[in-house]
Amino acid sequence: MPDRPMIEIASVTKTYGRFNALDDASLAIRPGEFFSLLGPSGCGKTTLLRMIGGFDTPTRGTIAIDGQPMLGIPANRRPTNMVFQSYAIFPHLDVEQNVAYGLKRLKLDRAEERRRVEEALAQVSLKGLGRRGATELSGGQRQRVALARALVMRPKVLLLDEPLSALDKKLREQMQVELRSLQKAVGITFVLVTHDQYEALAMSDRIAVMFDGKIAQVAAPKDIYQRPVNRQVADFLGGMNFIHGNLVGENGTAIEVETKGFGRVATQRPAHWAVKGGAVTIGIRPERLRVLWDQETARHELAGTVVDRHYFGEITHLVIEIPGMDKPLSVTETNDFGADDIPVGAPIRIAYEPDALVAMAD
């Protein structure tokens, strides 16, 4: 995308006393993008979101929205709107008054105001609930009101602070789909803060993974899941088998690593990674390892013994010990061929594709 970023965050640092909540973070969020800030609690993602919204000021660094520097501009004059984690529905107002809250200041004529409120309520499927009091709403409905109240302002950027964390699993998954299609429909840039990796993977165009106030990696969901830059990112986004290896050859970004078990692996050098000595970590996701049944063979296979088994309904986690390897491998297999019936202690063969093996920094 050649046009200028919607949000440009340049070397932003936020310190509370001697604690760095955010440490030299730089980020460019594109117009119309669904962007997620993903990380464990205390990683600085909410701090960053609040600074974009104008509720906190950076200690150092600058934030620009749509080319406008935001230094000194208070939250009420920024082209952003926020969906708060607690939803912050005004308890003394009904749904319609909540949604119209920000419009009142624009002094629209009554018909136009009504039309925009109705439109926003329709967008979040709350038509007909306009007169409902704020205290008579379910969690999901409150979430929708918060969303409508922000969308009705037609902001350039919509900020969402863990908007789904208070909902139960089923509703959360439904809202993920709805939020995603709503974002596509309105075309507004969404910035979502979440600690739920599945949420981020399912909804975002791009994700920034954050740890300890630093941005570790910014990439599309698939890239971040398949090619994490370091062990921390790999671990946070789901299960990963880590294998120690030694660097034996390199040619530009292509590297060759000698491992126990997987032998000589040809892969790509991870981004921002300096090879220290010869040690390299190689990772493979548990679902990229596949159980071989009966006489089935594969070009790349390993033989071992099942040492543990965990049943999860549609899938089973198998823990498999491979002779010559330091640690057992985790394998995720769907249950359609009966992986849940494989007894502990049974000999087993597993297959993998070499391109599923990724090198990463520690």
Partner: protein, 303 residues
């Protein structure tokens, strides 16, 4: 009330049987000693007063035949009507003034008190540790002819001779009562401000409101219960106050309570005193309820 008729969904735990099965009844049991005390010490005297208001004083004895004569006097004699009106006007002024002055204090403690909140609240209660009479006397020292205020104004050359405008009039009563009741207004307002979710204020900001608009549209409407409580707490007792008017009010400061006192003592007309008391009670109830209603209505209009 029998236990057998108890048909609700509460599941009785084996340990808690009989009368204390439901939460409601446990609550009743917990408050009943206080409730009984209040009933005996509060309701009974009021009943006696109400009864007296329908009787007639017959020199030293009381004629217990029913009459409305006392109420006719209480409501039609200009002196009592004026005194009642003046008392009401004064107590309402005190209540509104106290709330207006207390709100910023409570707001500051709640929103900007930080970790000194408890300390500031504690400091605010300190004046209330001394006797009420002492505090009224202190105001005499401040407002008097050769008092602190006059001396200061003379010293700075603002006035040439001591002013008599400060003490022994309605203003002195107003100032003294406002000061005396400040704590009782600050506390309920503070509590209601504490209950305001700060995210709501942020949400109002996010939707475009500056500091004043978000205060008027979110904080103020949400603290109406505290304001109402403060108004009632201040308004009701000040109507019947007669110590302050007597000490600092001079002849302008005579209030309905003084008239009631006269009827029970020098006037020796208990039934008339009782009728005046009951009338005051009813009027203040009506005034309090209507001020509360007016306030809620006004808050509703701000949106």
């Amino acid at each position: 009330m029998t236990i057998a008729t108890e048909g609700q969904g509460w599941v009785a735990t084996p340990a808690r049987r009989g009368f204390f099965r439901t939460e409601q009844r446990q609550g009743l049991a917990l408050m009943s000693p206080t409730f009984l005390f209040a009933l005996v010490m509060l309701a009974a005297p009021i009943m006696v007063v109400i009864a007296h208001s329908f009787w007639t004083q017959n020199y030293l004895t009381i004629d217990r035949s029913f009459t409305l004569e006392n109420y006719r006097i209480a409501l039609t004699e200009p002196i009592y009507r004026d005194l009642l009106m003046r008392s009401l006007a004064l107590s309402m002024s005190v209540a509104f003034l106290t709330v207006i002055l207390a709100y910023p204090v409570a707001y500051y403690i709640s929103f900007h008190g930080g970790r000194y909140k408890s300390l500031i609240l504690f400091l605010i209660t300190i004046p209330a540790w001394t006797s009420y009479l002492l505090r009224v006397m202190s105001w005499k020292v401040i407002l008097g002819y050769k008092g602190v205020l006059n001396t200061a104004l003379l010293g700075t050359g603002i006035i040439d001779e001591p002013s008599t405008a400060f003490l022994y009039n309605t203003n002195a009563v107003l100032i003294t009562l406002t000061h005396a009741w400040a704590v009782f207004a600050i506390l309920p307002i503070y509590v209601s401000l504490e209950k305001v979710d700060r995210t709501l204020v942020e949400a109002a900001t996010d939707l475009g409101d500056g500091p004043i608009r978000r205060f008027l549209r979110v904080t103020l409407p949400l603290t109406i219960p505290g304001i109402v409580a403060a108004l009632i707490i201040v308004m009701i007792p000040t109507v019947g106050d007669y110590v302050t008017p007597r000490l600092v009010g001079g002849k302008d400061g005579v209030m309905i309570a003084s008239a009631i006192e006269v009827q029970f003592k020098k006037g020796a007309n208990w039934p008339l005193g009782a009728a005046l008391s009951v009338t005051t009670m009813i009027v203040i109830t009506i005034v309090a309820i209507s001020s509360v209603g007016l306030l809620r209505w006004a808050a509703g209009r701000i949106r």
